[in-house]
Symmetry: C2
Subunit: 206 residues, 2 copies
């Protein structure tokens, strides 16, 4: 079962990353990001095949089979989400320029996606994502990093941020503001809590 569990974790993680990457690809008209989505979709297909195979081996009784069926349906759902991400990425691959309305959609949706450029002197430079804990401090999740001509997709806590990186991140409007200011070295990490407090206070006053 360990293997079935690990496959499903990877399918869930990848399908969610793919949706974020696909929206980013359309938003920033990035063929690189779109191609990564296509590559990941192949990977998710392969994992879905693998989990079906493993489930057939694991089923020992009718009851087993029923419970495993639910796991397979979850895997199918992850694959459907991955397919939807691929369809989004295909828009970019086909070279269709996104309608200007799409940019407005992404700016007004609940979860924003932004690209911020890490300037020299920013506190983010030469720190790992794990150390920075950006998600916990700002509500922003880094989806991908563009470094010169290379991309890092789905960075983990060990990924280091370097000067000049473009961070593609998703989160709230306030989080986007905080991340931009951190990347511009307009603010330091230890000022975030006070800024959020002030903003929270102003919500109170309204």
């Amino acid at each position: 079962m360990a293997s079935i569990k690990d496959i499903l974790i990877e399918m869930k993680n990848l399908s969610e990353l793919m949706v974020d990457l696909a929206y980013s690809a359309v938003l920033f008209n990035s063929k690189d990001a779109a191609n990564e989505v296509l590559k990941l979709e192949n990977k998710v297909n392969g994992l879905n095949y693998e989990i079906k195979k493993q489930s057939l081996v694991a089923a020992r009784s009718v009851e087993d089979a029923e419970k495993l069926t639910a796991l397979l349906e979850i895997a199918e759902a992850a694959e459907s989400i991955a397919n939807a991400a691929k369809d989004l990425a295909d828009i970019v691959i086909k070279g269709i320029e996104p309608h200007p309305v799409f940019k407005m959609v992404m700016e007004e949706a609940e979860e924003l996606i932004v690209s911020v450029s890490v300037q020299s002197g920013s506190e983010l430079c030469n720190k790992s994502l794990g150390e920075l804990m950006l998600a916990n401090r700002t509500g922003m999740f880094v989806i991908a990093i563009r470094r010169n001509e290379d991309w890092i997709y789905g960075p983990d806590k060990f990924t280091m941020i370097r000067e000049g990186d473009a961070l593609i991140a998703k989160g709230t409007e306030m989080g986007s503001e905080l991340l931009k200011k951190l990347a511009n070295s307009e603010i330091e990490v230890d000022e975030i809590a006070d800024i959020v407090d002030e903003e929270s206070q102003s919500q109170f006053d309204d």
Copy 2:
């Protein structure tokens, strides 16, 4: 175009909420949450029909039509994601108990979903989500609130948290810990930054 934009924003928001709600429904074996996903899926279908109709009216030239086609493909992708969420919710509606492995998958995936109960004396009580800015302070996004027998799905910044509420939220492992401690009144909001600093420091030491 305003209407097309607004429909697409709603489709994107709803499809993402549906995926989170559907995973929550399976995780907590909640027919209420699953039924909400089914209801929202109907809504997304209706919105997809509406956006197609509006696009036909808006297209004035071949160039227009091409750009609008990309918007419609984005709407289709949102509907596919909504359909995948419906398939997940159907597992719960069919009464299939989730395999114990699924709970482990959700605990080890990158984005966790947790349910935390707001205790009397918690600083969360009688504050709005907007004021609390939980997403920016902890990285946790509240997906739904269970209050007695009622549910609030996709709460907004005006939604008040009350004693006894069960908050269904997604985010990081560290964020889940912070939210649980806030809800248990083990910590106050203004202690979060120091706790995250300490955790960040320990990442440094490793």
